[in-house]
Structure formats: structure tokens, C-alpha cells
């Protein structure tokens, strides 16, 4: 099987996030929750219990006043490819709930198969997976606003960012009706990409030279989170600031090598 895939033309949907543009406004988080029917609670103070498929982290360089600098880092699911599609969560799932698809490169999650052991949550080094401790409770009238293309989750299952895969399904359906098999770049875009007012998020096929992400990921300022682990994530970050790039992993003093521009 592995040999076969090498010869086949595969798509690898991925994201490039420009951290220099990100203002930390949170529009992507809101768009994500609305698009994917992510439940919320009246009291969201305990972040260990809340669900955020896409979460913005605040990084600081830890220096005193004149040199103080902060950076906001949106973190979706990285859709790790690992080695031969064995991303950390896919390898450990005992129920074949989560799966790696060679055709799109997306790590899927089938909620109705999940029995809530949370092994995948322990395996994920990015904390991208969330557990439903309760059945969702929607404020009155909000059920009418739910996205019909995304199935809602029940208590006791794990969920995570799907790169808005239902949007891929909708776009494919339209393409099929028109007799096409290939999708254009703009036909399949995630909700967070479209919501970002700064245009910091770019989404597309990392294998397709026509897509913007293909070029962006090759930027000398591009890096991935926890690169050393070998998870081979499909979310790239760009920052012109060295301390931000260094924050992408737990580098020791001698390990971090500055790429020459």
C-alpha cells in the first residue's frame, strides 16, 4: 500500500498562518464555532472543560518593558501526516474512529464510533482534541442556526478541527454535478481562513504548485510546531521574529539553527 501511494497523485490540504499579520482578534475562533456547531456553556471560565477546535495562544518573549513583544498563535488541528499517515492520534485509536485519508491528507473523526477513551487526546502533542463532558445545550432558538452539513456531537466523544471537511463535501458535490473531479483553490476554503480580517490564514493543497500555500510554506521564515517530534504537521506558521520561530519547539541552546535568508 505504501508503495502505491508514492506513485499516486495525492492532495495534502494544509494551512499557512502568518503570525506577523495575526492580531489575536479571535474572529477565526468564532467562525469556527459557528461553522462546526461547537457547543459552549454558560460558564466558560474553566478552559479545561471548554471546546475550541481552533484556539489562539498568546506568546510572550518574556523580556522587560522596552523589548516586550507578544505574538498570537492560532492553533487548529495540525492534521499530522507522521510517517506514512501514522499521525499520533490515528496510531493509538482502538476503535478506528480517527483515520488518515491519502486523497485529502485530512485526519477525520467519526463521532458516532468514538467511545470516549481519550487515548487520542493523550497522544496529541498539540492539545487539538477536545472531549464532550456534556451533551450540547443550545440557547433557545439557536438550534435553527446550526450548520446542517456538520453533525452535532453527543456527550462522551472526542472532537477536533476537520479543516471544515463538510465544505469539501459540498464543493465536491457541486463539482460532480458539473462533471468535474478536481476542485479549484477558492472552492474549498475553511471558515477561519475566510473570517480572518487580516488575511493571516492561507489554506490550500500543499502538493499543488498553483495554490498559494505551496509557495508560502517554502518561506525561510516558515516553521511548524514541535517539528522535532516527527509528527509532520500540515499547518505551517510564518514569522519574521526569531523568538517566535524559536518558540515553535523546546529547543536547547545549541539546537536552534537560524535559516539563512
Amino acid at each position: 500500500m505504501k508503495e502505491e501511494h508514492k506513485h499516486k497523485k495525492t492532495r495534502r490540504y494544509g494551512m499557512v498562518i502568518d503570525l506577523d499579520k495575526c492580531t489575536g482578534c479571535g474572529a477565526c475562533m468564532v467562525a469556527c464555532m459557528a461553522e462546526n456547531n461547537v457547543p459552549f456553556r454558560e460558564d466558560e471560565t474553566d478552559k479545561l472543560l471548554s471546546l475550541t477546535w481552533l484556539r489562539i495562544y498568546r506568546l510572550t518573549n518574556g523580556k522587560p518593558f522596552p523589548e516586550t513583544d507578544i505574538c498570537y498563535l492560532p492553533r487548529p488541528c495540525m492534521h499530522c501526516e507522521g510517517h506514512h499517515g501514522h499521525s499520533p492520534c490515528v496510531s493509538v485509536c482502538p476503535a478506528t474512529v480517527t483515520d488518515y485519508d491519502w486523497e485529502t491528507g485530512i485526519v477525520s473523526q467519526i463521532y458516532t464510533r468514538c467511545f470516549g477513551c481519550r487515548y487520542c487526546m493523550a497522544a496529541c502533542p498539540y492539545h487539538a482534541r477536545y472531549f464532550n463532558w456534556w451533551d450540547p445545550v443550545w440557547p433557545e432558538g439557536m438550534k435553527q442556526y446550526l450548520n446542517p452539513n456538520v453533525s452535532v456531537r453527543m456527550r462522551g466523544v472526542v472532537e477536533k478541527c476537520s479543516f471544515c471537511f463538510p465544505r469539501y463535501q459540498v464543493a465536491s458535490e457541486k463539482a460532480h454535478a458539473e462533471g468535474r473531479r478536481e476542485l479549484e483553490e477558492e472552492e474549498y476554503q475553511t471558515a477561519c481562513t475566510q473570517a480572518c480580517p487580516a488575511g493571516a490564514i492561507t489554506f490550500g493543497d500543499l502538493n499543488n504548485p498553483k495554490h498559494a500555500v505551496y509557495k508560502l510554506k517554502k518561506s525561510p521564515n516558515a516553521f511548524r510546531l514541535l517539528e522535532k517530534l516527527g509528527t509532520n504537521p500540515k499547518v505551517y506558521y510564518i514569522s519574521s521574529r526569531e523568538w517566535v520561530r524559536r518558540a515553535g519547539d523546546n529547543y536547547l541552546e545549541h539546537e536552534f539553527k537560524e535559516q539563512k535568508v
Partner: protein
């Protein structure tokens, strides 16, 4: 001696009588529960509902030009319209045309009141299932009857049977309680979809199963 031999014989016949009773009770119980399990319970499991209007597919099929797609059409974005809305029927059925009491009922109760008919959908899948008609009908050029059966030739709508526990239509699980099927349209379970997907090798690109990835048919 003779009396003791008679006693043992008596004992033996008594024992065989007891054994007979045990066998009788065992098989009686066995068959009673077999009948309950295979005939009575499946009957109780499904509640039966009649469609609001007994629609005649055969009659309409003769009058339209484009087969099933005349009423069950694709929208511009590739999505499938499913059961027709009142707007499609109203062109012909503004007033009663024939002598069928079902048509009169339809015009009086729904067209005159401008109310949609609450059709019961036989093939409604669970929320987690994604199905694209365009992929099957347009791309794979499959006939509607492969999954839906010869419903286009039927003169009456069958009774809608709803599973009291799961709430799904019986057409999903299939009529046969043992799970046997003779026709492709007898069942609409995950195995039935994957059977065809494996045979036609539709995107066998999963790392976990080396078959179809989950996100092909799930959402």
C-alpha cells in the same frame, strides 16, 4: 426378586417420563421464544405509519418527460431536492383533475391551504451520514432503482415503518430480520454502501482500514 425387578422397571419408566417432560418443556420454550424473537418482536419493534397521501408513482411517471428527475431534481449547486415541494405539484394540481379521492384530498388539504405535505422519508439516514446524489447519479451514472428499488413503477406508497428504539425507517435495516438481502435496494446500512465502494474501488485510501476513508460517507 421379581418384585424388585418390577420396581426397577417402574423406576426406569418413571425416569424416562421425566426426561420426556424435560425435553418437551425445553423444545416448547425454545420454539415459543424463537417465535417471539423472530416474528412477534420485529412486529412490535416497528410502528406503522401511512403516508399523508397515497401517491401513484406509475401514473405520474407516464406523464412526465424526464423520468425520476422531473420531480426529484438536482439544484444548481449540485444538491439533491429529495421529496418534491408543493410548488412543483401546484402547476397541474391547482384544481382537482381526476377522480382519485387521494388527489381530491391532496388539493383540499394541502394545495388549498398552501401547506407542505409532511412526507415520511423512507431513506432518511442518521445525522452523521453524508450522501451525495450527484456523485452517484451524475458521476457514477447509477440508476435510482439500485438503491431505491422499482418505486417509480409502484401504484401505491408502502407503509412507513419506524423503529421505535432508534427512530429510523425500516428501509435502513431492511425487512429481513436476519439481515439477508436479495436485491441491492433491500437495505441501506453502512455495510451495503461499503460493499459497493470496495467492489468499485472508490477511493480506497484509508491508512487505518486500507479501504474507503471514513470521511467519504461521514460528516
Amino acid at each position: 426378586m421379581s418384585t424388585s425387578a418390577g420396581k426397577t422397571k417402574d423406576k426406569e419408566s418413571q425416569e424416562s417420563g421425566v426426561r420426556g417432560f424435560i425435553f418437551l418443556f425445553f423444545f416448547l420454550g425454545f420454539f415459543v421464544f424463537l417465535i417471539i424473537g423472530w416474528i412477534v418482536f420485529p412486529g412490535l419493534l416497528y410502528s406503522k405509519k401511512k403516508q399523508p397521501i397515497d401517491f401513484n408513482h406509475a401514473l405520474h411517471n407516464e406523464l412526465v418527460s424526464d423520468g425520476c428527475e422531473s420531480c426529484h431534481y438536482f439544484r444548481e449547486d449540485g444538491s439533491f431536492s429529495g421529496a418534491p415541494k408543493l410548488a412543483q405539484c401546484i402547476d397541474c394540481h391547482e384544481e382537482v383533475q381526476g377522480e382519485d379521492p387521494e388527489e381530491a384530498k391532496f388539493v383540499e388539504e394541502y394545495v388549498a391551504k398552501e401547506q407542505e405535505v409532511p412526507w415520511l422519508i423512507y431513506s432518511r439516514q442518521p445525522d452523521c451520514v453524508y450522501f451525495s446524489h450527484a456523485a452517484h447519479v451524475k458521476m457514477a451514472e447509477m440508476e435510482c432503482s439500485v438503491c431505491h428499488g422499482p418505486i417509480g413503477e409502484s401504484e401505491h406508497l408502502k407503509v412507513y415503518e419506524k423503529n421505535r428504539i432508534s427512530g429510523y425507517s425500516r428501509d435502513i435495516w431492511g425487512k429481513n430480520i436476519a439481515g439477508m438481502k436479495k436485491n441491492t435496494w433491500d437495505r441501506m446500512k453502512m455495510d451495503d454502501c461499503s460493499e459497493c465502494h470496495v467492489r468499485e474501488s472508490v477511493r480506497q485510501e484509508s491508512v487505518q482500514t486500507e479501504k474507503g476513508p471514513c470521511f467519504v460517507c461521514h460528516k
